[in-house]
């Protein structure tokens, strides 16, 4: 499903983003990526999305070799991935419904499928009633739910979230994490980079911990501060 083989990412200015990382994530897993600021969490996720390419080593995602891939294949890699960011990245001039349907339009989905899938995705994140509302009329948590609905509407096999609760209060963060868990229960592989100590500790998921670009721990049912 996702495989990193002795992967090193060195940025053009010489900074090490990730060093010698090797791990495997199976279909249907839920994995927290944790570690101090600058430890390489975002770098790891960017490699999965082919936003960056590895300097050394091999990265496989859904059968695509990120380290050795044609530019023209990138859209097809990404159609199998859903992505959520800390800053939501909604389109302010489109309604909630249009923000979500947009993701289906641009992969040229059938209008019939769009009309069916968008309400399902909105219902899943609990925003059915706000379909006609615009992003600025929503709270941060609600905006992130829209982003989640957009990320899952094309039924990706992997969902990648980079600090999805970074801008949210603890209660709202919990709701979002619960949603991610729901999505995972429905069969989607979920990767979440986060600093949320208490949530990671409570959810008892696999935890991949980074320090200075190295993988320092990789524990099933782990805690944020895992001493093995």
């Amino acid at each position: 499903m996702i495989e990193f083989n002795e992967v090193t990412k060195r940025y053009s200015n010489g900074t090490i983003g990730l060093q010698d990382a090797t791990f495997r994530i199976e279909k249907g897993e839920f994995v927290f990526i944790i570690g101090p600021s600058g430890s390489g969490k975002s770098t790891l996720l960017k490699l999965i999305l082919h936003e960056e390419v590895p300097t050394e080593g091999e990265v496989y995602v859904n059968g695509f070799g990120i380290h050795d891939m044609d530019r023209s294949e990138i859209p097809y890699l990404r159609r199998g991935l859903g992505v959520v960011f800390q800053d939501f990245r909604l389109l302010p001039n489109k309604s909630v419904y249009d923000n979500v349907s947009f993701a289906m339009q641009i992969v040229e989905a059938q209008p019939r499928d769009i009309r069916r899938q968008v309400p399902i995705a909105l219902a899943l994140v609990g925003l059915s009633k706000k379909a006609r509302v615009y992003p600025h009329q929503l709270s941060g948590g609600e905006q992130q739910r829209v982003a989640l609905a957009r990320a899952i509407v094309n039924n990706p096999s992997v969902l990648v979230a980079d600090e999805p609760t970074g801008n949210l209060d603890p209660a709202t963060s919990w709701e979002i994490m619960k949603l991610l868990d729901d999505i995972n229960q429905r069969g989607t592989t979920v990767l979440v980079a986060t600093h949320e100590k208490s949530i990671v500790d409570d959810m008892k998921k696999r935890v991949l911990c980074l320090e200075y670009g190295h993988i320092s721990h990789d524990v099933q049912k782990g805690n944020y501060t895992n001493e093995d």
Partner: protein, 300 residues
């Protein structure tokens, strides 16, 4: 590409042009300005070519035969002229004909010719070549034949005309290329603003897995709309101004009695061709400008 995708792209293109109305209008006016300048050069070229062609039609080579030329010699010369591929048409004028032409030309002053007979004049060939630029070579070839007294053609004029024609063509092409580059970069800048304003959207599209052409097309359409509006407006302005100039100059020329030398060509059926050229140039400029400005932002 699917029909609904094409619809989506066209509507996006129009929406963006409208949302960026001010910038779009600024770009449109730059396109208008460039095409106006191009238009001025184009019109000058068209008029030069037309007038030069008019003049060329009148360029003739006069071959004067010796007074005592033998019939056989004159016939040999005629045969040579008749069989030459470069000759458009020719006339053989007898001494009588040249004499009566002269009488007609002098009008009331023809009294001067009193007492003279056609024998006083020369037999003559009056030749029009397909391309007056061949005049010199043709004359040199002919001059070796027996029975010719003199060959006269407007050498200076012929040389100057071919020079003017060549440089006018070069000039129009250069002006066109320069203006195209300027306009393309101006359109590129406008689209760059749209692209910049929508970089978030482009980023999201990339993350969701839209392919490059899907992202590019709405911008290309936006550029083409700008180019098209610019081209059509510019055409309208150009043809209006041209008509004004045409009417004015032709009227003045008539007033001074120089209509035969200075004449502005009526464009007539050429309007459609000019509009076509403008529209093509506008569309191409817009598309190229957009492709240039979107390129950088696609590498996410």
């Amino acid at each position: 590409m699917k029909i609904r995708t094409i619809k989506y792209m066209i509507s996006e293109g129009f929406t963006n042009t409208y949302k960026n109305l001010l910038m779009s209008l600024a770009s449109v006016s730059m396109v208008i300005a460039s095409l106006l300048i191009f238009g001025i050069f184009l019109m000058i070229t068209i008029n030069l070519i037309f007038n030069l062609n008019q003049i060329q039609k009148d360029v003739e080579i006069d071959v004067f035969l010796k007074r005592d030329v033998a019939i056989m010699e004159a016939d040999a010369i005629e045969l040579k002229i008749k069989n030459d591929e470069r000759v458009l048409r020719y006339e053989r004028l007898s001494k009588e004909q040249t004499f009566y032409e002269l009488v007609a030309m002098l009008e009331e002053d023809s009294r001067l010719l009193e007492g003279l007979t056609p024998d006083f004049l020369y037999e003559q060939f009056r030749i029009h070549l397909k391309d007056p630029a061949d005049s010199e070579v043709f004359s040199n070839e002919l001059s070796t034949m027996a029975g010719i007294d003199d060959i006269v053609f407007p050498q200076e004029l012929v040389n100057k005309m071919s020079l003017i024609l060549r440089w006018t063509n070069v000039g129009t092409v250069v002006v066109l290329v320069v203006l195209l580059i300027i306009s393309v970069s101006i359109i590129a800048n406008t689209i760059k603003l749209t692209v910049y304003a929508r970089r978030k959207e482009i980023g999201i599209m990339k993350y969701v897995g839209a392919n490059d052409w899907f992202i590019r097309w709405p911008f290309i359409i936006e550029g083409m709309i700008i180019g098209l509006f610019g081209a059509v407006s510019s055409f309208v302005i150009t043809s209006y101004l041209y008509n004004e100039v045409e009417a004015y100059v032709n009227q003045e020329a008539a007033a001074y009695g120089i209509s035969n030398v200075l004449r502005i060509v009526p464009l007539g059926t050429m309007y459609a061709q000019i509009l076509f050229v403008y529209v093509i140039i506008g569309l191409v400029m817009g598309a190229v400008g957009s492709i240039i400005s979107v390129r950088k932002h696609l590498n996410v």
